[in-house]
Structure formats: structure tokens, C-alpha cells
Amino acid sequence: MTAHDTQLDQHGRLKHFLTVEGLSRELLLEILDHAESFAGVGDRAVKKVPLLRGKTIVNLFFEPSTRTRTTFELAAKRLSADVLNLNSSTSSTSKGESLQDMLHTLQAMHCDMFIIRHGNSGAAHFIASRVSPDVRVINAGDGRHAHPTQAVLDMFTIRRHKPDFPGLRVAIVGDVAHSRVARSEIHALRALGVADIRVVGPKTLIPAGIESMGVTVYNELESGIRDADVIVMLRLQKERMRSALLPGAKEYFNSFGLTNARLRAARKDVIVMHPGPINRGVEIDSEVADGTRSVILQQVGHGISVRMAIMALIMGSLAPGRETG
């Protein structure tokens, strides 16, 4: 059973949120619409709606994270759920067993939802296929595989600026090989009908066979972002800056760092996105990150309402939307 089969019930409705792969355009738009309706909650005097009152949600983070964990926590609290944060750093091979044991322990406490981040691809799928039928699982990032809530909030951000998806030209730039954000975004953009999706980076950071996901590969920045409507810059992890993959941060910035000068190759109304946290002067220049074309901080704000929508949807707390089968 594939990851995208595991997350649907027998009626084709979402019971877990593990990957964007296999989701229909209708379902994605439904989530975006719900997220719009939650967007105002943070501006109210009482920043809460009672949709998940009495539910217990566990943030199970095996990798360090500030913004994703915080926005999940805020989203859960704004839905009136009780939130438990468990941070566990992962180490060697005993991880699998401890993951299974931890799962059993938490299930015994009658939690309603697990939000899991884990360094190994397939971890959320592993848990979702083993929880009892009334427990829900959201993938908050698994290895290089998927970060589906990030992809949806990025689609939310794009739609706010450029609502006509099929006509867009989107460039995803940087360390695509190790990026779960890039993979989830590619699935989301494809589902929403974007025809021109580009991945841009040095050959060592572009994974084998990625063309089969429906993208075009560029090994040079200027041509990769030419006439782009949207540019997504990916974070370059420190340990990869000087390695067998790259000679160093300076050469990387000189060839793939986004500067205002380079940005002129894109469309005038281009928006620049980044899942964060950003490395200023490595993949993106401060003048771009803080500039008029950047929507990076908007992305963070959208993360809360999008995650509220996804949590409420898979808990069955929203009015039934369009059929998703």
C-alpha cells in the first residue's frame, strides 16, 4: 500500500495527512478555502474556535524544529485542543524500536492525533499504518520524502498573490536532493495544474530521475528563473556546503545565490519564497530576503491557518466539502 493510499479512508476522504502525492486538485482547493476561513482567527480578541475542544494532540518531534512545531502548537490551541509536546532527538539504529514502543505508550494514553517529524523517510507512513483506527497522523516532515503542510501553506501563499495556477512558471532552487519541501511542492503544483515547474541547482543536488515527477531540470540559475512567477529558494544545510557535493558556500552563493541583480531575469511581479530558516548570503541575499518581492514572513503566518484547516479536516470537524475520491 502506498503512502497516499494509507491516508485515505474507504470513501476517499483524508484520515491522515502524510503526503501531497495523490491528492486531487479539488481536495487541495478545499483545504485552501478552509484555511482562508481560519485566517481571521488570529486577529480576534479571543483567538480560539472550539472545533477540537476535548481532543489531545501530540507533537512528536524527532528532529529539532522551531517554526513548524510552534505553528502546529498554535494551530492546535486555536482549535481549542490540548497539546502535548514531545521532543526526542534521534540517534542510531534502535530508533525504529523506540518509535514503535513510543507509539504504543502514547496510544495507551488515548491521544487523538500525532503530529510527527522524523529524520527518516516513511516514518509518518509507518506510524499511520500502525495506529488504532480512530487516531489521526499528520506528517510534519519525514526525511527527504515529504513536508505536506509546508507545501499547502506555500500554495496558500502563492494563491494569495497569483490565483491562476495553470499559467504559472515556478522555479524551485537549491538542494532539491535532500529537500522534502521540494518534493511536496512539486506534487502540489502538479495537482493544481502548474505546467512549467523547474528545479534549479548544481548536478550534485538534483536527484536522479526527478524529471519523472513532471519537472524540468536547470543546472544554471539565470536560465532556471527566467520569466518565473514564483521562486522557491531551498535551505542549504551547513554540512553540505563543503563536501563531496559542493566546493564551498562562496562558490554556491556566486552561482546559485539569489540577488536583486539575478532576480531581474524573473518576471517583474515575481514572488520569492523560502521554507526557512534562511541562510543569508548562502542561498539568498539579505536584500532579496527582506526586499519587496519576498513573501517569506507571510508564509510563516499562513502556516497557522493552513495547519488549523488540515487538523480540523482530518478530525472530521469541518462541514463535508467536495468529494475527493
Binding site: A3, E21, S121, G122, G143, A146, P207, A208, S212
Partner: protein
């Protein structure tokens, strides 16, 4: 014990024999094929009408998990499973715990196998001490104790000078060097074959070069050292072409592949199927097809089970954290016959790759069914259909990637040295 097996189709690729006849067994040898010798009185008769009578299977690589990992399987459990699968001889690599780098460990395995009283177990000795790739193992001693070859099993000898000298030394001992080609640096912690599926699943990739570079190194060093080389568990098309070229220039090299690699590909990993987490990894469809063709043409001499039984916990984790390997010993024969049913291999070839060829590689007299030959033989119903279920598997390892599949071909009886060690 005297035994007559009556009315079966006696099929032996080594001798080219293919006829309906009785087989008479006495004192561990085949006394006659056809009419019984004068005065022959069998203690037992088995009817094989409508069935195949074949040489017993020789499995070039099966892990028994003992000593060291008895929570996964034992010599007794796996030898019983092997006997029920028609395997009369199996060869286990030296990566037990402790490793087979002293005669003591070899003797322990031999004793336990003898006590089990089922399939005959042969053992490869270590190529380097502790399989550490640094100091040569005591190969003469291991050979004298009965090791059939030397190997560092799944562990690569990192230092090419050590590998070269180990090959020279083994050649001097008259021992074949068994290598499972792997370059750990190129493998780089990968979990599955590099390609569209690894990219989509976000699993760390293993390039084909992690095998092909190691194949090139082993071939060149064996050629220089004048060693007899066996390359085991070949998975990549790029290895096949190198083996062909080496053999054409006269290098003494043989090769095998694991049975899973002739049926499954990297796309079977989809959904994070940890049962399909193998080492070497399942590769692309083009690799699989090249392997099947190489088995058909003889570039790959033999097919083994590459049996690796695991406990349930070993496979219950996110994919990269699970232990590689499949439990396959139960299904070696039906999976070979499946290639015949699919028209990919002639029957003679499918049987030869699991009998004659591995016996030759191990320097054994077995793997043939002839008058005066060893009475290691099996009776097979090639048409018996079954669905692979956990209940049906005899191995202690239930990590079988073929669970739920429908296969054809079942072993009805297994005879080792004239003794019935399994009967359905």
C-alpha cells in the same frame, strides 16, 4: 537404506538425462536409473508418477543466524526449512557472531547441522581476520578444517592491497575467493537503488556504481593474483557486462545472483515495503531483465536464495532503519520454476543454476543425478499451486517479500545421501 523412486520424470541437466524411469538408491549412491540391479530389494518405495525427479538443490548462500542471532533463526529451524524446500546442500557465509575465522566456529556449525540431521551445511571461511579487512585469515587452517572457500561475506575489504594479497594467498591455498561486490563509500548510507522511485520516496539512493566499481576491482585483482573468483549476489546490468568481458579474456570467474533480484525491482519498494529492503538493493527493470538474460546465457552461473531470515522487529521501522534481507529459502525452487512458466528460462537451465552450477563452484560431486552419483535428489510436483502464506513458510523468518503471491511447484520429498530427510 535402499530406496526406489518409481515412475517419475528423471531430469538432470548435468547429464542431459530426461526420461521416465525408476531411480534406485543404496548406500548413499544412485544404484541405478531404470530397471533395478539384480537382487535389489528396496526398504521403501515412493511413487513419483507424474512428478519430476531432480538432483537436490545446492544453495550457494543462506544465512542460518547461528551462532549469534538465534532470535532470528537457528541452524535446526533453517535446515528443516531447507530440506522441505528441496535443498540438500547449502553454503553459509562466515559473518556469524563470532565470525568463522577459526576452526572452532566451523566445528560448532558442523555439530549443530549434524544434530539437526537435515540439509548438509557447508561453510565459507573468513578472508580476513574478524572480517575486518586488515589481516589475512588463517586460510590454510580453515581449509584443513573443511571450509569450502573464503569470503568476507557482505563486508568489503576497504584496502585494495589487502584484497590483492588475500586473493594471492587464497590462490596459493587452492581456495576460491567469494566476493559480494560492494563499495561502501559509493553506497554512502543509501537504502535503495538510485532512480525515480528513490527520488520520489526520498530514500537515500545507492548508485549502481556501488556494485560495478567493486566488481571491476575484484576482477582486475583476481586476474593479477591468478585467483579463482566467485562474485555473489550480482544485482546490476553493469556488472554482467564486466563479467562477460573478463571471462572472454580468460579470468577464472563465476557469478551468482539472488532469486529476489530475478523477480522484483526497485518499484516494489513503493509504500516503504521493508520486506523489499535488500542488500544489494532491488534495482531497475532493465537490471532485472539483464540478470535474467545473463542467467539464461550462463554469464551468471548460479542462482541462490540469499536467504536472510529476520525477526519481526527487524522489519518494523521506517524503511532506512530496517535490516536488509529477505527470507527466501522456502521459495527458491518455485521462484525458479516461475521463470520457466513465464518462458524466460528453459527448465534445464532453471535446474542447472541451482544444482550443477553451484556444486561446481563449491567443488562438490553433487548437483547431478546419475548412476553411481551421490543420492541427493528431490521429488517435485511442478503443477502444485499454492498461495504463499506465513503458515506455509518453514523458515523462522517470515520476512518473505512474496507473501500473498500465487506460485507453482512444490517439493514432495527430499533425499540426502540416500536418506529421506523430508516427505510431504
Amino acid at each position: 537404506m535402499r530406496l526406489s523412486i518409481n515412475g517419475g520424470r528423471v531430469f538432470c541437466p548435468a547429464s542431459g538425462q530426461d526420461l521416465v524411469a525408476d531411480v534406485h538408491v543404496a548406500e548413499g549412491r544412485v544404484a541405478a536409473i531404470g530397471p533395478a540391479p539384480a537382487g535389489f530389494r528396496p526398504d521403501q518405495q515412493i511413487s513419483a508418477a507424474g512428478k519430476l525427479v531432480l538432483p537436490g538443490i545446492v544453495d550457494l548462500c543462506a544465512r542460518l543466524r547461528e551462532p549469534g542471532a538465534e532470535h532470528k533463526a537457528t541452524i535446526a529451524s533453517e535446515c528443516a526449512a531447507a530440506a522441505a524446500a528441496g535443498i540438500t546442500t547449502l553454503c553459509c557465509p562466515p559473518d556469524t557472531d563470532p565470525v568463522v575465522d577459526t576452526p572452532a566456529v566451523l566445528e560448532l556449525i558442523n555439530q549443530r547441522a549434524a544434530a539437526a540431521g537435515k540439509t548438509q551445511v557447508l561453510v565459507l571461511g573468513a578472508l580476513t581476520q574478524g572480517l575486518q579487512g586488515e589481516v589475512l585469515a588463517e586460510m590454510q587452517t580453515l581449509k584443513a578444517a573443511g571450509c569450502r572457500g573464503v569470503s568476507d561475506a557482505g563486508r568489503a575489504v576497504g584496502n585494495s592491497e589487502v584484497l590483492r594479497r588475500a586473493m594471492e594467498y587464497a590462490a596459493g591455498c587452492g581456495l576460491t575467493v567469494f566476493i559480494q561486490p560492494d563499495d561502501p563509500q559509493l553506497r554512502n548510507g543509501g537504502a535503495m537503488h538510485e532512480g525515480a522511485t528513490s527520488t520520489r520516496l526520498g530514500l537515500p539512493p545507492i548508485p549502481a556504481s556501488a556494485e560495478t566499481v567493486a566488481v571491476a576491482r575484484a576482477l582486475l585483482l583476481a586476474e593479477e593474483a591468478g585467483a579463482r573468483l566467485h562474485l555473489g549476489r550480482i544485482s546490476a546490468a553493469g556488472s554482467v557486462s564486466q563479467i562477460r568481458a573478463a571471462r572472454e579474456r580468460g579470468v577464472a570467474v563465476s557469478a551468482d545472483t539472488g532469486i529476489c533480484h530475478l523477480h522484483l525491482t526497485d518499484t516494489d519498494v513503493d509504500g516503504y515495503q521493508s520486506l523489499c529492503h535488500l542488500a544489494p538493493p532491488l534495482r531497475g527493470a532493465a537490471d532485472r531483465d539483464a540478470l535474467v538474460e545473463a542467467v539464461a546465457t550462463g554469464i551468471i552461473d548460479a542462482v541462490c536464495s540469499d536467504h536472510q531470515p529476520h525477526d519481526a522487529d527487524a522489519k518494523a521501522a521506517p524503511f532506512s532503519l530496517t535490516e536488509p534481507g529477505a527470507s527466501t529459502i522456502d521459495l527458491l525452487l518455485p521462484l525458479l520454476l516461475k521463470l520457466v512458466q513465464e518462458g524466460k528460462l528453459p527448465l534445464a537451465r532453471a535446474i542447472a543454476v541451482a544444482t550443477t552450477a553451484p556444486a561446481r563452484i563449491l567443488g562438490l560431486d553433487q548437483g547431478r543425478l546419475e548412476r553411481n552419483g551421490p543420492a541427493d535428489l528431490i521429488i517435485v510436483d511442478p503443477d502444485a499451486e499454492f498461495v504463499v502464506t506465513a503458515a506455509l513458510l518453514k523458515s523462522a523468518g517470515l520476512n518473505n517479500p512474496f507473501l500473498g503471491r500465487r506460485l507453482r511447484g512444490r517439493v514432495l520429498a527430499t533425499i540426502l545421501q540416500g536418506r529421506l530427510i523430508f516427505q510431504q
